[in-house]
Symmetry: C2
Subunit: 772 residues, 2 copies
């Protein structure tokens, strides 16, 4: 598919080394022993992982990182090109000229920076202890690099660092990974670990580094960051003994002190760098095994030793590729090479987070900062729930049900550990960031419950859901319960909160009903209708209302709020007014009926007032005021199908797919948000979308690939075909579901869960299918 | 015994409540159920714990604390009267007018401040968030108090706080304790926990407080203190539900924030106070169970629940008194009430530290900051080894052998966990403070080995000993090995280090020999003679020597070094020159023979030049330049016995016992140093002393009590009797050991280990016993 930005030079991520691997049969990959096999250098990749383009999203606002990670892995080793720019939240911007080093943890696609723990950087010559300035890299340890000397693939990253002349290669397993630095000859070669490096303007409250033996070091820092109190430990083992070591504290070498002995092998501080020093021969590779743990340094070392017992970089890389192949194999598609790259990269991005958060011992640092053992589940972290309740978790409920259950069990443990008795809002490494709004662990759990995700206790989950939804301390929930809306004179983002609470409450009600909790069902069903209370018929848009029931004056439905005082969450009312997924007919009626609803919906894609307020990067994600780059718009296009104009959905979907997605660094028009942007794409390709997670139905849009086979976690395959699909034939002409004609714009989960076929016939013009 | 300071008003530590307990038979105490038994109010206490005077050492430089602790307990709940004065190292000075509150951990007798974790303070009326000024207590939460309203006993402390009108009572078990606050009637009564309080000028790197339920709170802080990276957690459960709670961060209430929800139940920061708020009735007691853990808050809560399941303050107090009774019962004495108070208080102080450092689960935070499980031993902390190798551990090797083995196993674990591969120097809660000099874990272990302390692996211990003694990174050990002395131009405190290394090396040699390591024996025996290399015969004193073999010029044997550049460790050469306990005959010969040795030794007690440099408090501990208030002098008096003038030892011992010890707040003339000053006293009373720990002999001085029965850990009793002992009859006339005449000034361990009797006959004049 052509990318919205015309570019002549595509980033070559397929190097000779990767081409060499192409065509190898999967079994050889699994065996991990490729030596001696003849290359079958066919022109097209045979393996799905070969279509993964980790650079997608690294240019613009995608905020992805290019370095290797296992699926849902705990460690993400990736180059950092910045640590101070607020928008470089994953550490890497494709447009930056320098690399600061390679750190061990990264967030994928968030809109707030954090992590970037423990920066590894090779240096040659007199080492620098400071990062320096990217416009003058000689001022520090950072180095210029060129994308022509850079390569990123599933499980692998490589770059040549121009200043030291060192080639850096990275690979990552689940909790441990490897870095390989190939040095020039030098008497003063070194590998630095900067323990003070962190992505974002955060404070190192405490840090420690310990030299365990002649080739092993462990370290720790406690960061007051987006996550307020975040503990992370690492272990690093080098492939050859140190010739020398040095620890720098606040710019000064920590040396033996004859007056009062101070260890130079075990140093505490808040600004520490460790240097492993070597005399290197020309082209000498020095490898470093690394692992992280949130428990303690011993657990990091245990993770390292358990996961990477040998010195075999390729075995780690191939092991992770095997894992990716298995995960990517949940989908098969018919498509062009570019489409495959875009699709499998989207699967890749959708399967990066949440992240594994327990050690090989099964222990993890809980939300209460105590060390827990995950009994009967695997613990995860990084719950970007305001984003991922929409499409990511609904996708997991189909193709990642064991992990989805693990994530839900993690959330229930979080609830048990929470002093506020809340399910997570935006959890990050054992901390509640309280970022964004709503209580969207609820739709995640309720959707999973109704989609038959096994492995969590529904009664226990319901207790947590209900308590969270009734927490009187949380964001004016008490006033909302009393008034029927969140009052704009008492609470910021009140309009968004009212709308999202109402949807979450509908989810609570559905689970209450299923569990026979009739009074809860009644109570939450009533709250689910609260979206009606903030619709101003005179304006035709949702509108903030104060505690006296008065509308906000003045109010413009096409204006973004200020950062410090906004009625809406990163949005305008023209974007948010569509958020009543639990009752689309009710919303239609509220808006004055189908015609007025459609008129307004059409205008969303043509009005431009609000769009001008956005940054150029963000404007890329807009069609009128429809802003694909942020989540409140994500379900909106499918509303066309709900009201009998599926061809308009088809048109807009095709427009988005062909202009807002692709396989290039700038192919994401907004934060990938832990996979939500990518999961949206996968549903779009399959022609349906979870407009209302927790409900029994998906809404049909229009398929964007000729064929997608989705392998459900229960082993069944659900196949979507799109006969005659071309760039011109984008409109659904007819649909057959499991062999029968299907006239409804809704795809019931029951028709999908045991596998089957959704067969579209496409044509160049809107048809009468599902039309009203 | 009369105290050196004449005082008419002795502190009454026996209140009505305690008097009530007097005369109860021990079995009733053990049963813990005293209700219904009639009081037998005899005039003299029947129980040993009743002789414990916790105020001893709280005035002057003793640096003890008056609050309750179980023997070797992990928690020490005690009032703090200061946190900034460097000399108030245990938090309490008897002369201070105010109490800041009651914190949970305290060092006993150290010369450096730390601990004082988590200050509990009741307030009435509008609460203050700051400590305030002791000269104007209305500026903060501290309160004036009077010693007439104060009481301290084994396992119990009580004070009336004048400002709030609250009576505070404290008791402590091993890891958990209780505070009871009896309030006046008030609408605004509160109990504050100040998490930023710490004794000393230290930095709170991180802190956290969490309200778990309506009566339970946990918290944490990480302190960069004397211990550089010290983690401590607490749990506190209140006897009635909070009426309200408030958390203060840096002086401001942490409140619900409508823009971005911030929890007011789970707060991180560096300056936190928690307030439990109550409406109280007149004389309403509110109790708080507290516990600490170095592992995490969950372990603190587990310790609390396991150790104090019920709400029974007296049960905790009586349980601890029962433990003390058992420990104090290792000694029986004949003596006056004052002598009993002094003696049992000394036993009490000798048995306060090291401190238990593992949770009820068996887990502890290791020296590597990892969480370990103590397998096959009990973990301890607070190893003040430069002090305690002298008399405290040698005492443990007789009457606390299981604990001594546990402490040694803890030190071996420390060695395993040490990045420097060192046995501890001065360990504090999982940190090496590197305080003081030498490698005195060596004599502790070697003495225990030769005294038959079972339960540690001698080969493993020897490996740790040898590695520690050969560490080329440590305080010029490499130069010392090469030159035969620590060069004064390369290393501070070089003279003290040379002397102490040599003694430690002699200990290594003895163990090497026992284990058949002949070449090690030779190597370390050679090093053991290194004290000879720093004796300047022209001066007649030990003298610093530089790396070229030149004596320090100028050098005055009667001058203390400066704090930043000293050849000696808190001492003069006139004090340190006596430190070659491993070879007294060699030292005598070095000094020019017995006569010159004695002349010089006599002069130590009459020279006064150096003494004038000391503070008035420290001068109290001096007899001439003999400075009992600091450890380098501690073995010196017994040298008189070694050279045939035991009557001079007798004279000085009697002088010290009658002027430097007692049962009053100022009865310690120097830092108790984790029990060393007190253990010295116990040996002195028994008439012998471990001049050279690790050797087979003690040196006989002169008994100071008519009878002491010491119950060895093997169940045998060793009895010392002193027939005719009075304040006039202080000289040994004859000795019978196990029924036979004993003419030697040495008491072999072999004659003691199976129990027996050391029978002195005392007289008013020096005799020919052991005279030369």
């Amino acid at each position: 598919m052509p990318h919205v930005d015309a570019r002549s030079n595509k980033t070559s991520i397929a190097t000779a080394q990767d081409r060499f691997l192409r065509g190898f049969i999967f079994i050889a990959l699994i065996a991990g022993d490729l030596a001696g096999l003849a290359a079958d250098d066919t022109s097209a990749p045979q393996l799905r992982w070969q279509y993964v383009r980790p650079f997608v999203g690294t240019k613009g606002q995608g905020n992805t990182y290019p370095g290797p990670s296992a699926p849902f892995g705990m460690i993400q080793i990736s180059p950092d090109t910045d640590k101070t720019n607020w928008d470089t939240d994953s550490g890497y911007k494709y447009t930056d000229p320098t690399i600061l080093g390679f750190s061990l943890t990264h967030l994928t696609g968030t809109g707030c920076p954090d992590l970037g723990d423990f920066l590894f950087m090779p240096q040659v010559g007199t080492p620098s202890f400071v990062c320096g300035n990217k416009s003058a890299p000689e001022t520090g340890y950072q180095s210029a690099f060129s994308h022509t000397d850079e390569e990123a693939a599933a499980g692998y990253y490589r770059v040549k660092l121009q200043k030291p002349g060192v080639v850096a290669e990275l690979t990552a397993g689940e909790r441990a990974g490897m870095l390989r630095f190939t040095f020039p000859a030098g008497d003063q070669s070194s590998i630095m670990i900067d323990l003070a490096h962190v992505i974002g303007p955060w404070r190192v409250a405490q840090s420690k580094v310990r030299i365990l033996d002649n080739s092993t070091v462990t370290g720790f820092h406690l960061i007051n960051g987006w996550a307020k109190e975040r503990y992370l430990y690492f272990a690093a083992r080098f492939s050859r003994p140190f010739d020398d070591t040095e620890i720098i504290s606040s710019g000064k070498p920590v040396i033996y002190n004859t007056y009062r002995f101070r260890s130079h092998r075990d140093v505490s501080g808040t600004n520490l760098q460790f240097f492993a020093k070597f005399k290197t021969a020309q082209n000498e590779p020095i490898e470093v095994k690394v692992a992280v743990s949130a428990v303690d340094a011993a657990h990091a070392l245990q993770n390292l030793e358990a996961e990477i017992p040998d010195w075999n970089f390729d075995a780690v890389k191939n092991g992770t590729r095997e894992k990716w192949e298995r995960e990517l194999g949940k989908f098969d598609i018919d498509g062009t090479e570019d489409e495959k790259a875009t699709f499998y990269t989207s699967v890749y991005h959708a399967f990066l987070a949440p992240n594994l958060y327990e050690d090989v011992s099964g222990e993890y640092r809980g939300f209460d900062q105590n060390i827990h053992r995950a009994e009967g589940f695997t613990a995860y972290t990084v719950f970007s729930l305001w984003d991922t309740f929409r499409a990511t978790h609904p996708l997991f409920a189909l193709v990642q049900t064991p992990r989805d259950a693990d994530m839900i069990n993690t959330m229930l443990a979080h609830y048990d550990q929470s002093a506020d008795h809340m399910l997570p809002i935006w959890e990050l490494q054992g901390n509640e960031t309280w970022c964004m709004i709503g209580y969207h662990a609820v739709p995640v759990i309720v959707d999973a419950y109704f989609k038959g995700v096994k492995g969590f206790d529904a009664r226990r989950a319901y207790e947590a859901i209900k308590t969270s939804a009734l927490n009187p301390d949380y964001d004016s929930v008490a006033a909302y319960e009393k008034l029927g809306w969140v009052p704009c004179d008492k609470e910021d983002e009140s309009l968004s909160k009212t709308l999202e609470y109402a949807y979450d409450d509908w989810c609570v009600a559905q689970m209450a009903k299923a569990l026979g909790e009739q009074s809860d069902y009644d109570r939450f069903s009533k709250r689910a209708g609260n979206f009606r209370n903030v619709f101003d018929p005179s304006m035709g848009w949702m509108r903030p209302k104060d505690s006296q029931g008065r509308w906000r004056e003045p109010f413009n439905a096409h204006t973004y709020g200020s950062e410090t005082n906004s009625d809406l969450t990163e949005a305008t009312s023209s974007q948010y007014s569509w958020f009543a997924p639990q009752d689309i007919p009710g919303l239609v009626s509220l808006m004055g009926g189908r015609d007025k609803f459609l008129e307004r919906l059409d205008s969303l894609f043509t009005d431009t007032a609000a769009t001008k307020e956005l940054s150029p990067d963000d404007q890329r994600g807009c069609i009128g005021e429809y802003w694909h780059g942020n989540e409140p718009s994500h379900h909106v296009i499918y509303l066309y199908s709900c009201v009998g104009q599926p061809w308009k959905a088809a048109q807009r979907l095709h427009q988005l797919i062909t202009t807002q997605y692709g396989d290039q660094p700038d192919s994401l028009c907004g934060n990938d948000d832990c996979g939500q942007m990518s999961a949206w794409y996968l549903f779009a390709c399959m022609g349906f979308y979870p407009v209302c997670p927790g409900s029994s139905d998906y809404v049909i849009g229009a398929p964007q690939l000729k064929k997608v086979v989705m392998r459900l976690s229960n082993g069944k395959a659900f196949t979507v075909t799109a006969e005659n699909l071309t760039n011109d034939n984008i409109y659904v002409q007819s649909v057959r579901l499991n062999g029968k004609d299907w006239a409804s714009p809704y795809l019931p989960y029951n028709q999908l869960k045991d596998g089957g076929t959704l067969a579209f016939v496409m044509g160049p013009k809107p048809s009468r299918w599902a039309a009203e």
